[in-house]
Structures are given as C-alpha cells and as structure tokens.
Amino acid sequence: MRVIQMSRIGVSAVALLGIGILSGCATRDTLSPRIMAVEQNIGMAKEKGAEVYAPEVLQSAENKLSDARSAVSAGQLVKASKLLDEAMSDAEYAQIKAPTEKGKKEVAALFEEIKNLRDEISRMSAAK
C-alpha cells in the first residue's frame, strides 16, 4: 500500500512537472516579459490595421491578455500562462489576417475600378 501511495505521489509530481514545463514554468518573473511581448504584438497588429480588418481576432487577443493580467493578480499563474499563449497566437494571427483582408478589399476595389473604366469606354465609344 505504501509503495502504491508513494508511486501515486510520484506520478502526480511528474504530472505537475510536465504541466509546469508545458506552461513555461509560470512565475511572475517569467510572465511579465510574456505579457509585454503580447502587448507588443497587439500593438503591431493594430499598426497593420487589425482594428479595421481583423477586429474579432484582435478583440480575442485583448480579452485574453486582460484575463491573463487578472489571473496573475489572483495568483493563478498557470491559467495566466495558458491565456498568454492563446493571446499571443491571436495577436500573431491578427498581424497576418489584417493585411490580407486589406489586400482582398483592394483587389475588389481594383475590379470595380476596371469595370467602371470599361463602362466609361463603352459609353464614350457609343457617343462617337
């Protein structure tokens, strides 16, 4: 029984260690630079037009960052670490999505401009 119990504790310890590693061994010291990195990436996403072209993803990043800060204040460091990972992936995605969506709109506008020009040409030719 003692052996089983000790093994039980051992397994739990290994599980905790594993989760600790996976979540970047979250401590307040390691979380601070990660919070800053997420803030920076959110800023870059905004510079790339995410507020207009990827608002939902940007909002998700901001919400998760805010939740992560609250979790740090509440001492829930593992939760904060998980939220920061997710916020970072949102912010990175927003940085890709925003210029892409902007580009798609520009393409649509170009199509429209070309169509209008062709229409004008048709009218000009008809008016000859």
């Binding site: 003692r2 119990q5 905790l16 939760k79 990972d85 580009g103 170009l110 040409i121 030719s125």
Partner: protein, 367 residues
Amino acid sequence: MKSSQLIKQFGALALAGTLGAFLAGCSASGDSTSRQIAKDRLEQARANYALAKDSPMVDSYAVKHLLDAEKTLKEAELASKKANAPPINPALIYSQAEQDALHDDVARLAYVSNRKSEGAVSYAEGMVADNDKLRLGKEKAEVQLQKSSIEKKRLQRDVEEMNSALERSRQELSLASSEAERARIMADIQAKEALLAKAQAAAKTEEALALAAANADDAERARLELALLLKELSELQGQLTDRGIVLTVGDVLFATAKADLNASAQGSMVKIGAFLNKNPTRNLLIEGHTDSVGGDEYNQGLSEQRAASVKKALVGLDIASERIVTIGYGKRFPVSGIESKTGRQQDRRVDVIILNAGVKPESQFRK
C-alpha cells in the same frame, strides 16, 4: 490508524492542497467541461490543419506557417493521448484537478495550432491578393490608357473641327462686304479662337494627366513587385537599401563548410531569377563573406566559391552571366560583431544585392 492509512490520507490531502493552489486558475471547471473544450478545439485544429494542408495556395506560399501549425498540432495530439490514456494501475488514476490541467493543456495547444493553420491560409491568401493587385494594377493601367487614348482622339477631333470652323470664318471675313458684317465675323472668330485655345489646353491637360497616372501606376507596381519579392524571399532576410535590395543567403542555406547551395536556397534562387527576368535593367552584385575562424586564404577562397555558387545557380536559370558580378571578401566585413557561435553563423553569408536599375555592379565594390 495504521501508518499506511496515515500516509495515504496525508498524501492525498497534501496533494489536493498543492494541486488546489497550483491549478486553481485553470481547472475551476469540471472534468467534463475541460475534456469537452479540449476535444472540440482539437477537432477544430485537425479540421483547419487539413484544410490548410490541402490548399494549393498554402503549398505555394505558406509552407513554413503550415509546418509550424503541424508541429503544434502534433504536440496537442500527444498531450491529448496522455490526457486520455487509461491508467496502467487503477490506483494511479489522476485526480480531477490533474485531469482538468491535462485537458486544459490540450485545449491550449489545439487553440494555438488552430490559429497557426488559419494564419497559414490567411498568409497564402494575402500573397494571392498581392499578386492579384499587381496583375489588376497592370490591367487598370492598360484600360486607363485605352480610355485616355479615346479621350485624346475626341479632343483632337474637337480641335480639328474648331480649326476648320475658324478657317471658314476667316474666309467669310475676306469676302465680307460691309463694316458691320466684318465686325460680326471678327467677333465670331475671336469666340472660336477662345474655344480652340480651351480645347487645345484640355487636350494637353488630358495628356499630362494620363502620363502622370501611368507614371504613378508604374511606381506603385514597382513598389508592389519589390514588396512581393521581399515577402516571398523572407528566408533571405531582404532589406531595401540605397544600393537596391540586399538579400542575405545565410550559412544555413549552404552545406557545412562547403560552397554548395542546399535545396531550400535553390527555391529562393528561382524567385530571384524570376524577378531579374522581369527587371532586365537591374544587375546583381554577389558578395561572399566568412567568419573569422580559419586562415585568410581559406576564408577568401570559401567566400569566393560561395558567391560563385550563387551566380552559377542564377545563370542556370537563364540570367545572363554578364549581369552578375561576384566578389569574395573573406572575413573582412563581419555583420555580427559578436564572437560566439551565433555571431559567427551570421558572419558566414552571401549578400545578393539586386542593384537599382542601370547601376553597374563594379561601381559598388567595397573598399
């Protein structure tokens, strides 16, 4: 109470306390919720990865992003396997909090993988949009030119008609028999001259506007083309400089201590080649550099060979040999300024400089 029972209870309490403090944040929800979220997210991550993997666009433009998504998805799958594995020994079953923590981790990894797959698709779509912009920009310029040409012809016709009318009025003037008639015709001529001047000015303005629009379109297309090239050659760390575009073929793109380019670099060469083919007035200067390890002679030789290797690859892609000049600088121009493994790796490189239009490579040698 037997000691084994004490140990059991103590162990359980201590563990519960530790886990409670450690996992309180991410495991407030019940096991079924954590498990379900992890399951849903993993399914979504798998589906989005499959979608990205099957996309020819992603295959062309976002392989790196896709590999990143694949790596994270594998981590999520591994975590899921661990979280859902049946206990080998029933006595070693995970507690509720432990199970929640494991499922939360699956959910986290699946979420990240999902975003990376979406990012791969979006990045590829962005590249397609950039290419479309370039193509449509050219089409728009052509249609504008067509419209402008019709407009110009119309204005020219107006001018010609006005000139004829003016000529007729002048003939009328020479045949006029009375002062009053001459005065009327003169007024008519003046009015027609004013109209003609206006029409001529309109024709000139139209021509100038068309030319300015064409120049602006050309500049915009050139900018887009450069931006696209830099994006496509992201692994070459492209930089726009006064001399032109400097692309760095890093040490990792060469076989170790050799001058041969690896397969990844060959792909980049194809893109550089395509750009040079589209821009025949741009020449290339290829500079080979090494780190400070080893003798001068060896480094000089290696830098020259690596530069020559890049030239050979481009000449093999039908770029005229005379457009490309190579030079080896050995270890004279390090970029890192750091005596470390990473620093030395940065110093070992070949800089491919796509010079500005018309610039001769020899004029850009370093002193």
